[in-house]
Amino acid sequence: MKLKEILNSLSDLKADYISLREVHSKGLGMSVRNEVFEGLNSSEDHGLMIEVMMNGQFAYGATNSFELSDIRECALKAKNAAIEASRFSLAKFSLDERPVTVGEYKSPGKVGIDGFNPKEATELLMGLSNAMKLHEHVISRSAYMQMTEMQTHFVATNGSDIKQNINRTAIGMSAVASSEKGNQRRSYGDDQSTQFGLEKFNKEKLTATAIRIASEALELLNAEECPTETMDLLLAPDQLYLQIHESIGHPLELDRILGDERNYAGWSFVKPSDFGTLKYGSPLMNITFDPTLEGQYASYFADDIGNKATKEYLIKDGVLLRGLGSLESQKRLNLPGVASQRATSWNRAPIDRMANVNLEPGTSSLEDMIKSVKRGIFMQTNRSWSIDDYRNKFQFGCEYARLIEDGKLTKLVKNPNYRGITAPFWNQLKMVGDKSTFEVGGLANCGKGEPNQVIFVGHASPVCLFSNIEVFGGGK
C-alpha cells in the first residue's frame, strides 16, 4: 500500500495532525588491514515513524512492520501518548510548526551501491593498504569504503509530500607507525564523506595519499614533542571541521539553549538575548547553514518535519544572528532558526540538529598567512576532541604539526594539542584563507539526544590563523 493510502486509512483516528516518515536505507562497507580483507558488511533498514499531534502535543510511534494492523496500533499508541502527555506539555504547538511542503531531492552521486563491484573494491583497498607498506615500522595499514543510500518519503495530513534520496560515500585510510620511540598515526578520509558517489574518488590520488600518510607517520616517530607555549595557531580544514562542529554548531542548537539537552549532551553558553548582539568572533568570521552546497554531506531539500531548507547566515562579520533550531524551538524562543529538525532514522523523533555548517572563505592566501607568523604552529587532522557541556572550555589534539618560525614552516613536531575558550578563541581569529584553501568535508557520527541519535553533518572551511593560543604536547 502506498504511503498516502496508509495515511488516509488513519483518518478515522481524528488526530489534529499526522505525518508518516518512511525510511528505507541500505549500507555497504568493507575494509582491509595489512593487505588482509577484513570483511564486507551489507545492511538494510526499513521502518516507519508516525507523528501525531493532539492538544498541541506531539508524540511518536515507530515500527518496522508494514502490516496495516501494526501501523494502526502504533498510530493509536502515539495518539494516546500525545493526549496523556498533553497534560504535562513543556510547550504547546500548532500546525504553524508543520509547513506544507512538496518536493523532491536526490544526491548528485552517480555510482553507488548498485554499481558496487566487490572485486574492484577489494583490489582498490588492497592496493591502498599495500601502498602504505613503506617500512616494517608501519605496523597497521587500514583502508575502508562505506556507502549508504537512504530513501525517505514524508507525507502529512496538511498535504506535505516529500521524497528525498540521500546517498553517501566515504573512502578512508590510516597508517600506524611504531618503533621504540612510540606509536604515531596518520589518517585520511574520516571527515571526507560526501554525497558524491564512487566516481568522485580517483585511484591514483588515493594511492598518493596512502603513501603520504604512511611517510608522515614514519616521519613523526622521530619528531620532537610539540612545545608548550602560547603562540599563533594555523589550522587546516581537517581540524577546523571539528572546531566548528563543537564550538559553533552545538552551542547554536536552540534545543540546547532551551535546556532540553541538559541531562545528556549539555547546553550552551549562548543566551537567547545574545542573538543579534554577541560578538562571537572577529569580523572575519562568517558562518553559514548551507543545505544547498552540491555534494556536501548534509545537503537536503527539507528537514524531517517538512520544513524547506535554505542557506542562512548564523554568524555574519563575527556577530551572532541565528540559531540552529526547528520551527518548534523557534516558536518557544521567538528567535530565527533554520530547517534542521532531523532524525537519525525512522526509529527516532526529529530534534534540533546541525546539517552543513560552514566557515565562509576569506581573502588570505596560505603563503601570506604563514609569512605573517613570527612564532606559531600549523596543525592538521583531528585526533582528539573534548569540550564542556556549555561548549566553552575545549581541548583538541591533532595528528601532524609543523612549527612556523619567522614566516616559514620549519620543524615537524608530534602530539600537538591546543586548548581555549570558545568566544575568546574565535575573537582571536586573525586571518581567514581564500577559496584556494577552502575544503568541504563531512562527519558521519554526531551524537546527541535522549534517546540517543547519531546523524551525518557537513562542514567546510578554509585554513585559518588564530593569535596567542595555548599549545602543548604529549608525554607525562
Binding site: 508524540a59 515500527t63 518496522n64 512492520s65 504535562f88 523523533a349 572550555k393 540517543n452
Partner: protein, 443 residues
C-alpha cells in the same frame, strides 16, 4: 510484539539453516526492543516515542570466506523471502572476495535462555509518578521502559536468548543558578517509595549547590572522584585501553602496563564480572565469556580482552571477548575508605561527582582530558565550602590508578548503561570512589 518471542526466531532460523549448502555456515544475531522513551525538561514532557523494532545480523560463511549482512525482522512470511534474497546476493558477492585467514567459524556453544520479565506498572502510571514526585523542581532527562532482547543462534545448533524488562529515569535537577545534580533510578522492579526517595535525595544535594560557585585556578589538587566519575573513566578505558587488538595494532593506551614497564597502585583491581547481571555473557558469535576475569590485579597487568578473531591473527588464546574487545561488565574492587570519612580524608581539595566528555590526549602515556560536571565542590579542612565552576583536567591513568591513588572506598555503585544509540543498551559497570593525592586541572 510477536518478534520478541523466541519461537519466531527459532522457526525462522531453522528455515534459513535448511537452505545452507554443505560448505556454508551461518550465525544470526538478533536484537529487538519494545520501548517507551519520554524526553523531559523542566519536569514537563517534550517528546514521547513508542518504538517497536527488531533486526537480525547475519554472519554467512562459505568455505574460508565470510560476509555480513542484516535485515529487519517482522516475524511474518516476508522475513524468509527477504532472507533468501539476501543469501543469494551474499553468494554472488562472496565469490569475488578473498579468503579470510582469521575466520571465526560458528561452533556449538550450548543453549541458554534467560528471561527477566517482572511486571511493571503501565507506562503512563510510572510517568505520572515521576512528574508528580518532581513537583516544581526543574528536572531534565529521559524516562525509558520496556523489553529488550539479545540473542544469537547458529547453524551448529547453538542458541542463546536474553530478554529483560526494565526501566530507567536518567535525570538531573537544576537550581535557579542552573547548577545541577545528576541521578538515576533504574531497575526491573518498580517501587514508588524508592523513586520518591531518589528524587528527594537529589533535591537535597541540589540545595548544596545554592552557594556561590568558586572559581578554582588551574593546577594540581587533592581530589575525591565519586563512583559515577570512576565509572565514566571506565568507559574511556574501554576505548582501546584493554583491547589486545588495539595494542597489537599500535593504538592501545596501556602499552607500558602490558609490557610490564609500569605498574599501577596495589589498591587498584579491575575485572570483568558477569555476576553484575546486567549483560549477557555471550558475544556476537555466541561464545561465553568466563564469569569473572582479572584485567588488572593489585596494579599489575593480568589480561587484555581477546576476541577469537584477534586470537587467530596473533596466535593467542581467546577469552571470548566481543568483536570490539570493549569491557561488557567491568567492576573495580572496593577498598577501606568509609563514606563517613571521605571529606575528612580529602581535607582540602575537590569533591568531583561526575566527569564529562572524556577523550585521550596522549594514548602513549594513557593521558586523558575531560571536564568536571554536575555537583562538584571545593572542600576545606573536611568541610564543603562551595560548588565550583567546571574545570578541565588532563591526567594519566597511571597517575589516577597509580602513584596518586591514596584510598578506595569500601562501597561501590552500579551504573547501568542508559545508552540508546540505534537501540537500547544492556550492560553496565560497578565502581567505588577514589581519593587521589594529586589531579591536574588545566583550564
Amino acid at each position: 510484539m510477536k518478534a520478541l518471542q523466541s519461537s519466531y526466531l527459532e522457526i525462522f532460523a531453522k528455515k534459513v539453516f535448511n537452505e545452507l549448502k554443505s560448505d556454508e555456515a551461518l550465525t544470526l544475531n538478533f536484537n529487538g526492543e519494545e520501548t517507551l522513551f519520554s524526553r523531559l525538561s523542566k519536569a514537563k514532557v517534550r517528546q514521547v516515542t513508542n518504538l517497536h523494532q527488531a533486526f537480525i545480523d547475519f554472519a554467512f560463511i562459505k568455505g574460508n570466506k565470510v560476509i555480513n549482512f542484516n535485515m529487519p525482522f517482522r516475524a511474518d512470511e516476508g522475513d524468509f523471502s527477504l532472507a533468501l534474497k539476501k543469501l543469494a546476493q551474499a553468494r554472488e558477492w562472496i565469490a569475488a572476495l578473498p579468503e579470510d585467514p582469521y575466520l571465526v567459524r560458528p561452533k556449538y556453544y550450548g543453549v541458554t535462555k534467560e528471561e527477566n520479565l517482572n511486571s511493571l506498572p503501565k507506562n503512563e502510571e510510572m510517568m505520572g509518578q515521576v512528574l508528580d514526585f518532581a513537583g516544581n523542581v526543574d528536572l531534565a532527562g529521559v524516562f525509558s521502559s520496556g523489553d529488550v532482547v539479545r540473542a544469537t543462534i547458529n547453524s551448529e545448533g547453538q542458541f542463546h536468548w536474553f530478554k529483560t524488562r526494565n526501566f530507567y529515569l536518567d535525570y538531573s535537577l537544576y537550581n535557579e543558578k542552573q547548577k545541577a545534580v545528576k541521578s538515576l533510578y533504574a531497575g526491573s522492579e518498580w517501587n514508588s517509595d524508592d523513586l520518591r526517595r531518589n528524587i528527594k535525595d537529589a533535591e537535597y544535594k541540589l540545595g548544596l549547590m545554592n552557594r556561590d560557585s568558586k572559581k578554582v585556578a588551574r593546577g594540581d589538587y587533592r581530589v575525591y572522584l565519586a563512583p559515577s566519575a570512576v565509572n565514566e573513566l571506565m568507559g574511556t578505558l574501554s576505548w582501546g585501553g584493554v583491547s589486545m587488538a588495539a595494542h597489537q595494532q599500535g593504538s592501545g593506551s596501556l602499552k607500558d602496563l602490558w609490557q610490564k614497564k609500569k605498574v599501577m597502585s596495589p589498591k587498584f583491581t579491575l575485572k570483568e564480572d558477569y555476576s553484575l547481571g546486567l549483560s549477557p555473557r555471550f558475544n556476537e558469535a555466541g561464545e561465553l565469556a568466563h564469569p569473572e576475569m582479572m584485567l588488572i590485579e593489585k596494579g599489575e597487568f593480568r589480561n587484555f580482552l581477546i576476541s577469537t578473531r584477534t586470537a587467530n591473527e596473533y596466535k593467542l588464546e581467546s577469552n571470548n571477548a566481543s568483536d570490539w574487545e570493549s569491557m561488557r561488565s567491568p567492576v573495580i574492587s572496593t577498598g577501606d575508605l568509609s563514606r563517613d570519612d571521605i571529606y575528612k580524608e580529602l581535607g582540602t581539595g575537590l569533591y568531583v561527582s561526575d566527569l564529562h566528555y572524556l577523550n585521550w590526549s596522549d594514548r602513549e602515556t594513557a593521558r586523558i582530558t575531560g571536564m568536571t560536571r554536575y555537583a562538584c565542590f571545593w572542600v576545606e579542612n573536611g568541610e564543603i565550602v562551595s560548588p565550583i565552576e567546571d574545570l578541565r583536567f588532563d591526567e594519566s591513568y597511571y597517575n589516577i590508578f597509580g602513584d596518586a591513588l591514596e584510598r578506595v572506598t569500601n562501597f561501590a555503585e552500579v551504573s547501568p548503561s542508559t545508552g540508546s544509540y540505534f537501540q537500547r543498551d544492556v550492560g553496565g559497570s560497578k565502581a567505588p570512589g577514589v581519593l587521589l593525592s594529586q589531579f591536574k586541572f588545566t583550564l
